[in-house]
Amino acid sequence: MIAVTINGRHHELDVPAEMPLLWAIRDVVGLTGTKFGCGQGLCGCCSVHIDGRLARACVTPVGAVNGKHVTTIEGLSADRSHPVQQAWIAEQVPQCGYCQSGQIMAAAALLRRHPHPSDDDINQAMSNICRCGSYQRIRAAIRRAAALLAQGGEEAS
């Protein structure tokens, strides 16, 4: 049994410890906002927060999160009110949308480390892949989210 708290809710998961967290979240817990893109930690579609730190769930064994708190896109805010989500809406970032849960989780983690990231910081930190090419809008949205946070927007996770 793996004991893990996901978005504030406690789960006892009867799965092999080596199962990647991604599949425990998607197929066992049933939260599908976290996406499968590569299975090798290369694309970032599966980005989540583990005890507040950014992680790629497809290469994180679920056994490694025993006793920890996981936040997925569904738990970032209850109502799309997180400054990063607000900024994503304002800049109309998503196209197909498949990578965006991961992009948003990565951006939220970046802004916790770097409240005022430069474009270089953003380019370096945001290694998630987007095949629709929303990169320019992601940069703008992260700058906008940084401004929202500086104005006192609350961070939910």
Binding site: D27, C38, C96, R131, C132
Partner: protein, 717 residues
């Protein structure tokens, strides 16, 4: 759980796992369907008003637009409802969107009963039809109110989903009129708004309807579909093209916890499990002995060598276009050979499909560019008549042409039929890269003739490639050349008095398919790079050289002039930065771009792109901008490092470490300028692709004097 799920049943069941698919009150107090992507195309029936297949108004004031086109990021789930909302006088943000299942009645007239999204034609094929649908419904709602109130329809108007009687200061919502309107005859030729009356079309204030669900994880993609009792399957497919299963040993696979069955299907050997990971692990543990087939020794080097031989063979191929006599025109002759690699699509969402084949019925859930094509595959692998098979569409995690192909649907249906349970087949990223329908490799022989003043007086362009229609609809390839293989080659935007275009069909047996802007994505790279070569040979400015050939094409001249103007073509560049220019026509739309590039070692770094788009009437300016950005990054990604190679009959690349794609730190800033136009829309989803690679290559030439006649730039050759 017995029997096949009904649609309503599916909606009820998924609502528990997919964050609420039931209708809900939105933040602004209005009725919303949460934009999760699976709406209800049928409604409750009673009292609904549905004057066309694409629009339904329910008595409770819900307005549902059924999309005959797939939403793969290009914005149709906003753009098409905009057309209806504009003419209906209904608030766009209150419209619920549902994706059409595989039923011919939902197809637009221009699509001949086929539900297919491709060729940047969605706005073109819906532009009149959906405005007409909205205007007709509005006229009928007005007629219903006029009858109720005993007044003339001409005395009534509409606003925000209600008919207004200004004289009597009364109003009736569309929902309250729906049952009455449904009894009225459908009028013909209801007049449409003129552009000066548009409130939504062309306005910058209109936001995408699908964005909220795409920032909170609630948008439902094919990958997210979950049915009661559903199993997950991974398929071991033949590594070499044309290969087959000889035998397999499934003992190790079955020993994996969660694996419930291993079955052979036409696509390969399927491992069926309780979750995706167990299916993947089981597939890895499977021991399959393959018959690698006739292509086992084939390599892309071999294909290139043979293609190059064909390109130089005057007796090979068929003429697509002849104007004048390019063989005998006098002047200075310049020749070049260009080589383009196979490319994978690499959609973010790997291929997948969910099927339930039981009790003589087949039901499929998939994000597809063609429910019609998916239904054909479902019927084939289910062994059932077409009418016993239905395909439901979801949001697509990227399409780019890839999701035209129903290979995952066929696999899911075959596995579900074999095990008698609902099954979701999921490709690993490696499966997705190695079992694609690739952008064809191509060898192009191109030659130009310059007169003694450096004007282009002759051009010949020979394309040697695989025809995508051989893998899709062979009947369309029967003339010996097809418009996709020759897109960007059979015709040019330029006036060239002597011009020949030739196609040589070379079929080495690698599956090829539609890849965003097929095959102009390569042929225009060749043409526009070669135009730059010719300009350099003639000692002319690349913009001026092109403009001299655009005297009878004012639309192309206009985009080129605008790109030069906004891209600072004639101004000084920053030290170390060079500019390149190219024109990119695509299926009736036109673009021109100026790229600013500096070199990092032998690799170009693209700093900025100025792109001009003429796509006729712009329906949503922000979506048009986003699609140009998207296509530019997609084309740039391929130009920088995209390459699929074949060795021993199989694809050498697998995941994103070997098939590398554009990342944030390589993504240039992009400015998009759109041409003001009230001409009918001509499409935007692919327009940005053709010009970006040649614009960058031409900038690289300007920076270094090195001419890239093959891609990607990262290739050492």
């Amino acid at each position: 759980m017995s029997g096949v799920l009904t649609r309503a049943h599916f909606l009820r069941l998924t609502s528990s796992t997919a964050a609420g698919l039931v209708l809900a009150i939105g933040l602004d107090g209005c009725w919303h369907a949460p934009r999760t992507g699976i709406g209800d195309t049928e409604g409750d029936g009673a009292g609904a008003f549905s004057p066309s297949a694409w629009l339904r108004i329910d008595p409770d004031d819900r307005v549902t637009v059924v999309l005959a086109k797939a939403e793969m990021g290009q914005g149709v789930a906003t753009g098409l409802p905009t057309l209806i909302a504009e003419e209906l006088d209904y608030p766009l943000e209150r419209i619920a969107v549902a994706f059409a299942p595989s039923e011919a009645r939902f197809a637009y007239p221009q699509d001949h009963g086929r539900l297919l999204t491709g060729g940047s034609t969605s706005m073109r094929s819906s532009w009149k039809v959906l405005r007409q649908a909205g205007a007709t419904a509005r006229a009928m709602l007005i007629a219903a109110a006029a009858a109720r109130w005993g007044v003339s329809p001409a005395s009534l108007t509409t606003r925000d989903g209600a008919v207004i009687d200004p004289a009597a200061n009364r109003r009736a919502t569309y929902g309250s009129l729906a049952a009455t309107a449904a009894q009225l005859p459908v009028p013909a030729n209801v007049p449409l708004k003129t552009p000066d009356q548009f409130r939504l079309i062309g306005k910058t204030t209109v936001r995408r309807l699908d964005v909220p669900a795409k920032v909170d994880g609630s948008a439902v993609f094919g990958m997210d579909v979950k049915l009661p009792g559903m199993k997950y399957a991974a398929i071991a497919m033949p590594p070499a093209f044309g290969g087959k299963v000889r035998s397999y040993d499934d003992r190790a696979a079955k020993a994996i916890r969660g694996v419930v069955a291993v079955v052979q299907v036409p696509q390969g050997v399927a491992v069926v499990a309780d979750n995706t990971w167990a299916a993947f692990e089981g597939k890895r543990a499977l021991q399959v002995v393959w018959d690698h087939g006739v292509a086992a020794q084939a390599s892309s080097e071999q294909f290139f060598a043979e293609s190059e031989r064909l390109a130089r063979d005057p007796s090979a191929g068929v003429i697509a276009t002849t104007i004048g006599d390019v063989e005998h025109v006098a002047g200075r002759r310049v020749e070049a050979i260009y080589r383009g690699p196979y490319l994978a699509h690499a959609t973010m969402e790997p291929m997948n499909a969910t099927a339930d084949v039981r009790d003589g019925r087949c039901e499929v859930w998939v994000g597809t560019q063609s429910p019609t094509v998916a239904q054909l595959a479902a019927a084939q692998y289910a062994g059932l008549p077409l009418e016993r098979c239905i395909v439901h569409n979801t949001y697509l995690g990227g399409g780019f042409g890839r999701r035209t192909y129903p290979d995952a649907v066929g696999a899911a249906v075959a596995v579900s039929k074999t095990v008698g349970m609902p099954v979701k087949v999921v490709y690993t990223r490696e499966d997705d890269t190695q079992h694609d329908f690739y952008r064809p490799m191509s060898v192009n022989a191109i030659a130009g003739v310059l007169d003694d003043r450096g004007n282009l007086v002759g051009l010949s362009h020979t394309v040697v490639s695989e025809s995508v229609f051989h893998w899709f609809l062979p009947s369309l390839a029967n003339r010996g050349w097809d418009r996709v293989s020759m897109d960007g080659a059979a015709e040019t935007v330029y006036h060239i008095p002597n011009f020949t275009a030739k196609y040589v069909d070379y079929e080495p047996g690698v599956p090829v398919g539609f890849w965003r802007a097929p095959d102009a994505n390569w042929n225009i790279f060749v043409l526009e790079s070669f135009m730059d070569e010719l300009a350099a040979t003639a000692g002319k400015d690349p913009v001026a050289f092109r403009l001299a050939l655009l005297g009878d094409n004012p639309r192309a001249a206009n985009v080129l002039r605008l790109a030069a103007l906004h891209g600072g073509w004639n101004g000084p560049a920053r030290p170390g930065v060079a500019r390149g220019v190219a024109i990119g026509p695509w299926n009736g739309s036109l673009s021109a771009m100026v790229a600013e590039v500096s070199m990092t070692g032998s690799l170009p770094h693209v700093h900025h792109v100025t792109a001009v788009a003429d796509c006729g009437q712009v329906v949503n300016p922000d979506v048009v901008r986003s699609q140009m950005e998207s296509a530019i990054y997609y084309g740039l990604s391929a130009a920088l490092s995209g390459k699929i190679t074949i060795r021993n009959g199989r694809v050498e690349q697998g995941n994103f470490d070997t098939y590398t794609v554009l990342h944030m730190d390589q993504a240039p800033g992009i400015d998009v300028i759109t041409v003001d136009s009230h001409d009918s829309p001509t499409g935007i989803g692919e327009l940005g692709v053709p010009a970006i690679a040649p614009a960058v290559a031409n900038a690289v030439f300007a920076a270094t004097g090195k001419r890239f006649r093959s891609l990607p730039f990262s290739d050492p050759s």
